[in-house]
């Protein structure tokens, strides 16, 4: 009987490029920027890398097909390199590949790197992917904001919430992320904003305005993993280990008159339950120290707090307004600025979140450092509310 991967794999080093409009850099520059920080942090020679995973969601934009772009950019020692794509969960997928390789005993040291270079489109949202059955059946009139905004309408209907009350709660979600992002030198958007700015911004898809939507960014993030035993033998201390890695992918259940009410993410609930089982967590609200969740839209973050079983169902608005998720709250969320402000280079985002948890757990998060964090959770969601991929990763101090 499988028992999961808790504490079988340690993070040896991580790196993250500056996110933003990186017209100064090619994709290979971004990869090298993240990699150099990670390998210096790991303190190993490149020849010790035994396998690698590359994640990128829009390969046609500046990256190119196959795993060769990563192997070439890093001059990897002719090792197995695999490219993965799973929408916004792509970065966590690359991490999962490397972690499973080490957990299985196939490799001592493996690397995961995610990259995306999207700002050359000159467009704030995702490049349109017009083909494939799901998009064809929808005739492409839906936008990402248009799909996710429907979560807000369904949430209001289910919980009897007034439009303006919900709008104010999701505004606080964005105000908080901007406050955090302003303290992060690698973040794309570093500007403190107030509630009025959010409420008065141009409407994108009712009730989501400009500041309820994250944009896309250029950037890369990288992790190097090994076993805790090897990390210790290299003299590492304050070791951060992987407690759980889970992924749930829709199979169409949501749309089949199955009882899904459109106000939450089924896959996130499934992935979170499995991850808590794997990590041995029974009371996430009390046990987790911090989160980085997939705030593609402010409403996504709000309902995700319930889908991760931190806020009670229908209780996320109160927690948000009480400051429960603020930097000085009980369980800070998006302490690095989140997708909203750190930025969203799709293929790198999952690894970027783990990067922040890793820095926090090692006490290296600078101005953003939280007091004595022990367990951090990251969450990605890719696709539409009714059919998507959801990844949950939990990392924490080894030996706790």
């Amino acid at each position: 009987m499988a028992t999961g991967i808790k504490d079988r794999v340690a993070i040896l080093g991580m790196g993250c490029s500056k996110f933003g409009e990186r017209y100064d850099a090619e994709a290979s520059d971004l990869m090298v920027e993240a990699y150099r920080e990670a390998i210096t942090d790991a303190g190993i020679d490149p020849s010790q890398l035994q396998a690698a995973w590359l994640s990128v969601a829009f390969e046609a934009m500046n990256i190119g097909p196959s795993a060769i772009p990563l192997s070439m950019a890093l001059r990897l020692p002719t090792i197995p390199v695999t490219k993965v794509e799973n929408y916004c969960a792509s970065g966590t997928e690359a991490f999962r590949g490397a972690v499973y390789a080490v957990a299985s005993g196939a490799c001592d040291i493996a690397l995961a790197l995610g990259v995306e270079k999207l700002k050359d489109t000159g467009y704030g949202g995702l490049p349109v992917r017009s083909r494939g059955l799901a998009y064809d059946m929808m005739a492409n009139s839906g936008t990402a904001p248009g799909f996710f905004a429907q979560i807000a309408s369904a949430y209001r209907a289910k919980h009897g919430v007034q439009r303006d009350d919900l709008k104010r709660a999701i505004a606080h979600v964005s105000v908080k992320s901007h406050a955090n992002g302003a303290k992060n030198p690698k973040a794309h958007l570093r500007k403190v904003i107030d509630e009025a700015t959010v409420l008065n911004a141009p409407m994108i898809a009712e009730p989501l305005g400009l500041y309820d939507c994250c944009g896309v960014s250029d950037g890369a993030a990288c992790a190097i993993v090994t076993t805790p035993e090897i990390a210790k033998s290299m003299g590492k201390h304050d070791i951060v280990s992987v407690k759980a890695l889970q992924l749930a992918v829709s199979n169409g259940w949501e749309l089949q008159g199955s009882g899904w009410d459109g106000s939450y993410f089924h896959t996130t609930r499934v992935a979170a339950k499995r991850a808590y089982d794997e990590a041995g967590i029974s009371k996430p609200r009390e046990e987790l120290s911090m989160f980085d969740v997939h705030d593609c839209f402010s409403i996504t973050e709000l309902v995700t707090m319930e889908d991760l079983f931190v806020s009670p169902e229908g209780g996320a608005m109160k927690d948000v307004m009480d400051g429960f998720y603020d930097a000085d709250g009980q369980v800070p969320c998006q302490i690095d600025g989140g997708l909203k402000c750190f930025g969203h280079p799709i293929g790198a985002s999952g690894l970027r979140m783990i990067y922040e948890m890793y820095l926090q757990l090692q006490g290296r998060a600078g101005e953003r450092q939280l007091k004595n964090p022990r367990l951090g959770l990251t969450h990605n969601l890719g696709g539409m509310p009714n059919q998507n991929v959801s990844a949950v990763a939990i990392v924490g101090r080894y030996g706790d």
């Binding site: 349109v128 059955l133 309408s153 369904a154 898809a205 009712e206 949501e254 749309l255 459109g262 539409m384």
Partner: protein
């Protein structure tokens, strides 16, 4: 020289979805019905969502639905769409839910649980899009 006309991208029928688009072109709203358990499904798929049977038939559905959730898109994904317009999830009388547009109605008047009926929008000789209007 005239500027090229901007049109939204239209669906490309696949082996699986061709019967559906043949139906909308003839003004008929077809759904797959499982030959084993009788469940209707959406989007088109080879396997039944409920029982995994490969046996199915395309049958004419009522076209009746109600609004499950919706939003009003002010910024469309591409030029060629006329914003604002309503994107919605509707629950079909047969059970499945469907992403669509609500038309022939002021966006301000769309409500959750509102009864709607399928309607077809012929955009080319090959493709008639399915949309819903107040019933």
């Amino acid at each position: 020289m005239e500027a090229p006309m901007l049109i939204p991208p239209y669906p490309v029928p696949s082996n699986l979805s061709q019967p559906f688009w043949d139906g909308t072109r003839r003004g008929k709203f077809l759904l797959q019905k499982c030959g084993a358990c009788g469940a209707y499904r959406w989007t088109p798929q080879w396997l039944c969502t409920k029982c995994h049977s490969l046996d199915f038939a395309w049958v004419e559905a009522s076209g009746d639905a109600k609004v499950y959730s919706f939003s009003v898109v002010h910024r469309p994904p591409l030029p060629g769409f006329k914003a604002p317009y309503v994107v919605a999830t509707v629950e079909l009388a047969e059970g499945p839910m469907m992403l669509t547009n609500i038309v022939d109605c002021d966006p301000k008047d769309v409500k959750i649980d509102m009864k709607v009926k399928v309607t077809f929008d012929k955009v080319s000789d090959e493709i008639s899009l399915y949309k819903f209007r107040p019933a």
